[in-house]
Amino acid sequence: MKAAVIVFPGSNCDRDMAVAFERATGQAPAMVWHKDTDLPEGLDIVGVPGGFSFGDYLRCGAIAARAPICQALVAFAERGGHVLGVCNGFQVLTETGLLPGALMRNAGLRFVCRPQALEVATSNSVFTSGYAAGDEITVPIAHHDGNYTADIATLDRLKAEDRVAFRYVGNPNGSVNDIAGVLSENRRVLGMMPHPERAVDDRHGGTEGAAVFASLVSAMADA
């Protein structure tokens, strides 16, 4: 599986994501700078990491979503490529329009940083096939703007199409319907606020995020 991780000014989970990909695939991912206009050839998956791209100016992820590399990212996704956006990466993906909805300021107004219990809402995706639907896992969250919102029609559609990937157990930020992560219509783009890449090593305090990366590797091997 060939992976790349996009790096914006202000990304701070790019290394964590690269380590998680390298552990799962045995191969270091390509690190792609935001000013690049093309992604490397032959990629299976592009990671959009957490952080505070462009200082969260204007809106979280708004400036990053208009960076040159994101045109290539959207084209990659539209060709059927796989994309994983975590935290700020999720915000970037909603800002590009690859995922529906938006992430607003946490309802409690505080930055929330702690281990968070999640329910795996579907195992029907290349990101979650290593879990069973209904599994409860714990991975870290660390965000100020993770309050997922979308209009009623979008929420109905996400539910009808089984596109909620993860739900919070004990809602930390006010997200509608406890949504922590959503899939694109073709199920190949996942955005999530929690950090699976920060739960892949015993020294992280837990390894329950590792199955996201293992699921991807297994899906790509079967493809």
Binding site: L58, R59, A62, R66, T94, E95, P100, G101, A102, M104, R105, N106, A107, G108, L109, N147, T149, A150, D151, G174
Partner: protein, 76 residues
């Protein structure tokens, strides 16, 4: 010329920051503040003759996230 863009959360979208401001005003003794909505104002210095349509496109492509925000443009 100058354009002023006011970006607000759409009606019906909960505004936790506005709500916190409303609460703080109450704490300071300003009774009867029924609601506070917090938005942002963006001032643009533009070449004379820039059309409202151009500013509109700036709003649609970057300045506002129309999933949750509405915007208003004033040209001077």
């Amino acid at each position: 010329m100058k354009a002023t863009v006011t970006v607000m959360l759409k009606d019906g979208v909960l505004d936790p920051q506005g709500e916190a401001v409303r609460h703080a005003l109450g704490t300071l003794g300003f009774d009867g503040v029924a609601g506070v909505r917090q938005g942002k104002v963006i001032e643009l210095d533009l070449p004379d003759g820039t059309s409202e349509d151009t500013v509109n496109r700036m709003c649609e492509t970057l300045l506002a996230n129309t999933v949750i925000e509405s915007y208003r443009i004033e040209l001077e």
